[in-house]
């Protein structure tokens, strides 16, 4: 096996491998960020090309149904306009009442739009990568949304990219509540099933709360990462947990986590970012 070159090349390779496996975390993170930054332009280029191709394909496929889709969208727009008007009125009432009882005006937040440029290619985690990063004001622990509901939170950022841990990942925990019953619990992911379905579980729900299929699940605002009342999903089923003390609710996320192409990052307003809380 080691005839010509002797043992030296093998020792060098083994040393390199062992060194890589035992690098201090900050150094390893630095190397990973440098490689990712170097490849970011190519990454964005290829993923945008893929997105345009997919959109063109979708357009061609749906060309016959455009008129019907247009009608449905107009109806939806009308409904949403009506809803916005009623919500604006409610917000005005809310602001007046808050001012009356001396509540601090809740600071508004900005939404930063981003495109999904990649998913975790190893498939061991439920993560994706956005084409916005530190240069766009993103930082770890900011919530990520889709128009339908909560998608996850940012875990790592480089100058031009941000990695998002989705709520479907077993390592993601979100404090949630069920507005109908007022029940609280901790939501965590269970990964994606082979049939592509994504279900999350809400643990530690007190059994006195009667949970029903279809119950809405929203963020509770506890924990400091996610603001309250972001829609998360709805309950599919609820079962007693292994201890029998609590109940576990199985939740179907509102966001289409398996096919997300765009996302919004909830960034703090200038006053919040500057510490003006």
């Amino acid at each position: 096996m080691v005839r010509r070159g002797g043992f030296l090349p093998w020792i060098v390779l083994l040393t390199v491998l062992l060194a890589l496996l035992n690098l201090p975390l900050p150094l390893a993170a630095g190397i990973k960020a440098s490689v990712r930054e170097t490849l970011a332009p190519l990454h964005a280029l290829i993923s945008r090309a893929g997105l345009r191709l997919r959109e063109a394909f979708d357009t061609l496929r749906g060309i016959g149904g455009l008129a019907a889709e247009n009608r449905a969208l107009q109806a939806e727009m009308l409904r949403l306009r009506t809803e916005v008007r009623s919500l604006q009125a409610a917000a005005r009432d809310n602001d007046e009442l808050r001012a009356l009882i001396g509540f601090r005006q809740r600071a508004g937040r900005r939404l930063t739009a981003a495109e999904v440029i990649a998913r975790d290619s190893s498939g061991w985690w439920q993560t994706l990568r956005l084409d916005r990063g530190r240069m766009d004001g993103l930082r770890p622990d900011l919530p990520v949304l889709t128009p339908d509901g909560l998608a996850g939170r940012i875990t790592e950022v480089t100058d031009r990219t941000a990695d998002v841990l989705l709520i479907s990942d077993p390592g993601c925990r979100v404090s949630v509540r069920l507005p109908r019953t007022g029940a609280h619990g901790i939501l965590r992911g269970t990964g994606m099933r082979p049939d592509g379905q994504i279900l999350c579980r809400v643990d530690f729900v007190h059994p006195r709360h009667a949970i029903r299929p279809g119950d809405e699940v929203a963020t509770s605002g506890l924990g400091g990462i996610y603001p309250p009342d972001l829609p998360v999903g709805h309950v599919e089923t609820a079962t007693p947990d292994a201890t029998g003390i609590y109940r576990t609710a199985w939740v179907l996320p509102r966001a289409d986590l398996g096919r997300m192409r765009r996302a919004f990052v909830l960034t703090p307003s200038a006053s919040e970012a500057g510490g003006g809380r």
Binding site: P9, L13, L17, L20, L21, S34, T38, L42, A118, S122
Partner: protein, 167 residues
């Protein structure tokens, strides 16, 4: 010209794998473009060179995902050794050699990475999931490896890297 072209090839393979869809039925494994490139290097280059490139492929692959640095390098190095060991056992139809060696390399690399991640506590051990991912990677590599090997070979031919043929 040789090394810059190789670096570009590795980077492009990593990016391509990151943007390709990962089917749930294959354990959410994206088509193993990088493992296929490792197979190509193991088939065409000397053992030491193939191993060095496998380690480099691992660094790029880990950098583009959440896998800790070095895990994929170890897995790809083992896959490169395996392919290099059996590269003379070829089938008459060359693409079939790529299919079989690609499947073995990608399946093996996924299995080794999974075991390393489990041992280090980064993911919880789930035999069914690990089996699904290993099998998924092997099946996908059966399709990807011949394509990647043919494309890489064509590219190397275009820039004059394969003048000496296999080493």
């Amino acid at each position: 010209m040789k090394w810059p072209a190789t670096v570009v090839l590795i980077g492009a393979a990593g990016v391509l794998q990151a943007v390709l869809p990962a089917p749930a039925i294959a354990g959410q494994t994206a088509p193993p473009v990088m493992a296929s490139l490792v197979v190509h290097f193991a088939l065409r280059r000397s053992r030491a060179e193939a191993l060095s490139l496998a380690i480099a492929c691992g660094v790029v692959f880990d950098s583009l995902g959440r896998v800790p640095l070095g895990f994929s390098s170890a897995a790809f190095a083992a896959a490169a050794l395996l392919v290099h060991r059996y590269r003379d056992e070829v089938f008459e139809w060359r693409a079939l050699t790529h299919v079989i060696l690609g499947a073995a390399a990608a399946g093996g690399a996924t299995l080794i990475t999974g075991l390393l991640l489990t041992a280090a506590g980064h993911v919880a051990f789930a035999l069914g999931w690990l089996t699904l991912k290993t099998a998924g990677a092997a099946v996908l590599a059966g399709v990807t490896a011949p394509l990647v090997c043919a494309a890489a070979q064509r590219l190397e031919h275009l820039i004059g890297l394969d003048a000496g043929g296999r080493r």
